[in-house]
């Protein structure tokens, strides 16, 4: 099994930051969300993942942060085979992966500040550092006025940007953004893309799943299309 997987690896002399090899995901009982998908992302790359609704974009991102487990196939991140990592090692790896979920997964009763601070607290960053980073991110996303508002009281578009700020807080090794501009107008979409570009310039590898053609048209980043679980 492993040999056939290895043979199918593209001929690179160094492993990519993300290696997805012949991954299939079947949700019980028989929903095939991903079929034999292989994808490699280099360190520092920005990749777009497109495709119609239900194609499997979210599923692919969930596999990368171990929120779901592949039915078949191999996933490696930064040289770690996710299948063989211990629970604790998975948590440590998750600390280096920022995820902006399609459904945000914010805590509505906590303030905007507390929500964005959470991943930094998990890594025991100092309060000073956290304050600095949170205000910086909010300024970049045009949300400075909302610092102490409960996250649940914000509009969808504002919540979306909070989710992105939380994913970006630790300047992660790998950033996964699921439909990050779905609720945004052109202006705020620009702010979000500027933030991604900045993170990318500073070395973060970024994978963006999106329907929004405007954010990938005219860029020279790689783009993959998922259709009914198959990658093109």
């Amino acid at each position: 099994m492993l040999e056939t997987l290895n043979e199918s690896l593209p001929p690179h002399d160094h492993p990519g930051l993300v290696e997805i090899v012949k991954v299939t995901k079947i949700y019980p009982p028989d929903v095939v969300a991903l079929k034999n998908v292989s994808l490699r992302a280099e360190k520092g790359e920005l990749i777009f993942l497109t495709g119609p609704s239900g194609a499997g974009k979210t599923t692919l991102l969930k596999l990368l942060c171990r929120q779901e487990i592949p039915t078949k196939g191999l996933i490696e991140i930064d040289g770690n085979d996710l299948n063989t990592l211990s629970d604790n090692a998975i948590q440590k790896l998750r600390q280096r992966i920022g995820v902006a979920y399609q459904d945000f997964k914010l805590l509505p009763r906590l303030s905007v500040f507390q929500n964005i601070a959470m991943p930094m607290e998990v890594q025991f960053k100092s309060l000073k550092e956290i304050r600095h980073r949170v205000t910086e991110l909010l300024a970049k996303l045009g949300l400075s006025a909302k610092l102490n508002k409960p996250a649940g009281k914000l509009s969808r578009g504002e919540q979306q940007r909070i989710a992105i700020a939380r994913a970006a807080a630790n300047s992660p090794l790998l950033l996964l953004a699921d439909e990050p501009t779905g609720n945004l107008d052109a202006g705020t979409t620009g702010l979000v893309m500027d933030l991604f570009r900045e993170l990318n310039d500073n070395g973060s590898t970024i994978i963006i799943a999106t329907h929004d053609e405007s954010i990938y048209q005219g860029t020279n980043h790689r783009k993959f299309e998922l259709q009914q679980g198959e990658l093109f």
Partner: protein, 295 residues
């Protein structure tokens, strides 16, 4: 260092999140500790009283007739063959009469017309420490009753027996309240903490997604359990101390309690109660989170 600071602020945040339930749990722990240590305090004081009474315990053997020196030797030998005694004193009717006169004091004129002859010869036996427990004393008394030349043996049977039963009852109550203490603290703490954890389930889920390790999630909960144990039992012991002072102040001059001095729990016992409660509460908090972290 920063790790502990974070765990600590996280703990405070959790406590603020559900302070009502936490306060109830704290009071439950306090009350259990108070009830247990109250009975334990009575028990230790009673044991002490018992010891004091035991020191004065003696058996009086009334004899048919005066014993010759050889007879006395024989008697001493027989008594010693049952168990160790501290001393044996033979008392003649004259000596007993004198003692009685002394005890009666100014009322001694009631004895004026009487002669010492109405009093029997007797022997007073002061048992050794090893013999001074209730069942041994009873056996000893039966043994002495069956010695030739013995009329009757007296040692305040009824009183000693009742006291012994009382001590037994107290021990039983201490054990029961101790068990209740263990059960209530452990289950209350693990139950409330589990409730508060369920209330925070969304937060815990998000924390897992953000890469929080087990110890990051467990730490604050364990500290909560620890704090509940520390403050709960601390308050309980403090309440007991004030209760004790009050009782001492109001009752120490009254009859029975005047027999001996009331004493508070020794430092070591208080420390054990404190540490025990802390351990139980921490254990309870561990129980509450174990199941939650499994999935």
């Amino acid at each position: 260092m920063r790790f502990f600071l974070f765990i600590f602020t996280q703990t405070l945040r959790n406590i603020c999140h559900s302070w009502g339930v936490q306060l109830m749990t704290l009071l439950t722990v306090t009350l259990s500790v108070l009830i247990f240590s109250f009975f334990y305090l009575i028990y230790t004081n009673m044991l002490q009283a018992g010891e004091k009474i035991g020191e004065e315990l003696r058996l009086t053997v009334y004899l048919d007739a005066q014993l010759s020196p050889a007879g006395q030797e024989e008697f001493i030998k027989k008594v010693n063959s049952f168990g160790k005694v501290e001393k044996i004193i033979f008392i003649t009717p004259e000596q007993a009469f004198q003692r009685l006169t002394k005890q009666l004091g100014s009322d001694s004129d009631v004895l004026a017309d009487l002669s010492p002859a109405f009093l029997p010869y007797s022997a007073e036996i002061y048992p050794h420490k090893d013999l001074r427990n209730l069942s041994r004393i009873k056996e000893f008394s039966d043994y002495l009753t069956n010695l030739p030349g013995t009329q009757k043996v007296q040692y305040g049977q009824a009183w000693v027996e009742r006291f012994g039963h009382f001590i037994k009852l107290l021990r039983f109550i201490v054990i029961i309240s101790g068990t209740l203490l263990i059960l209530t603290t452990m289950f209350m703490v693990s139950y409330t903490l589990r409730l508060t954890l369920y209330a925070r389930q969304d937060e815990l889920k998000v924390l897992r997604y953000l890469g929080a390790t087990n110890s990051y999630i467990k730490g604050p909960v364990l500290i909560e359990g620890f704090a509940l144990g520390l403050f709960g039992s601390g308050l309980g012991l403090a309440a007991l101390f004030f209760l004790f002072q009050w009782i001492k102040h109001h009752f120490s001059s009254a009859g029975f309690l005047g027999l001996f001095e009331l004493r508070f729990l020794p430092m070591s016992d208080s420390a054990i109660i404190l540490l025990g409660s802390i351990m139980l509460c921490t254990l309870g908090s561990l129980l509450s989170i174990r199941r939650l972290l499994k999935k």
